[in-house]
Amino acid sequence: MALSKQQIAQRIARELNDGWYVNLGIGIPTLVANYIPEGVNVTLQSENGLLGMGPFPTEDKVDADLINAGKQTVTMLPGSVLFNSSDSFAMIRGGHMDLTVLGAMEIDQNGDIANWKIPGKMVKGMGGAMDLVAGTENIIVAMTHANKHGKSKLLKQCSLPLTGRACIKRVVTDLAYLTIENGSFVLRELAPGVSVEEVKSLTNGDLVVADDVCEMTF
């Protein structure tokens, strides 16, 4: 059965290492914060100027001057730091983030990603996404394997305007965990009950099945 959004987040959370600085995008990536393993201490960055983001505030602690990159009210934790936008992206562009998790509309077997613009539709902008994919070595894409019309979002070549080139090496979908290596998707783990054939049929790009492909457990 396909993973729920929560399970996608849960699977991604297992990739976190103690001490990491992590930027979580809007949507499924945000949920990763709920599944950080015991004993792993990660610092969440919000690119509008906060390192060490805490949970949403209680009613009495709401502060209009303390929001995250999704414009939601947030809190700080002991050891948090505030900074301006150019310092924030100095961290990101300079490769100081250990991990970025973000959503995508499409990715392809070359590691390209498209997640900000659909021609003909209202464009909201790329925000910090282009900086994050260009600046972070370690990126995990979190998305559904196919779009709502059943079409694969894992392609030979992205059809939508790109967010970044040759930057994606890992993706967790509702069906599988895959890496991108040497111009192919490599199937590493399957969602419980999902078959290799299902993943193959919904992957519109070259797919290699790893020798040690296994089923995720939750």
Partner: protein
Amino acid sequence: MSKRVYTNAQDALAGIEDNMTLMLGGFGLCGIPENCIRELVRLKVKGLTCISNNAGVDDFGIGLMLQQQQVVKMISSYVGENAEFERQMLSGELEVELLPQGTLAEKCRAGGAGIPSFFTATGYGTEVAEGKETREIDGRMYVLEPSLTADFAYVKAWKGDKYGNLIFKGTARNFNPVMAMAGKITIAEVEELVEPGELDPNFIHTPGIFVQRIFEGVDYEKRIEQRTITQ
């Protein structure tokens, strides 16, 4: 310079003209120069190019200026929380240049720091790089980004002293310090204006040298876009 302290937005905004380029601090509705925007709306200056990470919402922030069609071009990283913005953009009344958020921030800082352009990997291979010089450096491809400056930069700080030294609060800092650097004339509105010496010199976010005019703002609404609560 010694005439740096103004009594209100009306006095402080003197000199603004149609067709100028403006920077406006803030991220979403957080840390926006509410008093300056209110005055820009009252003045009805037109033909403006606005550099701001976002474009406000329909009835607040830069959205108020869009309602009056005062803006002909927006340079932003994320827009469209705003129906009137969308209408003007789709109809072609409003030109929109979208830039990666970090590139936008760095272009402002560079403009203030006398750096006319810099290379960044951000946006290489995307629409953002179209028409821009690209170059391989140490095996990686980069885009040359020119800096940005503005006729006026409007920033909002928490506290400021009469020399223009500023401190910000929380994530309301965001683009304000870099835009303060990049304004030919930078106007700071602050929640609390204090005497020189009241702010700790070791903990000032924006040195007064970047601020040409300062005033204490009034009636801050500080609207919250996404009020999110832990029960």
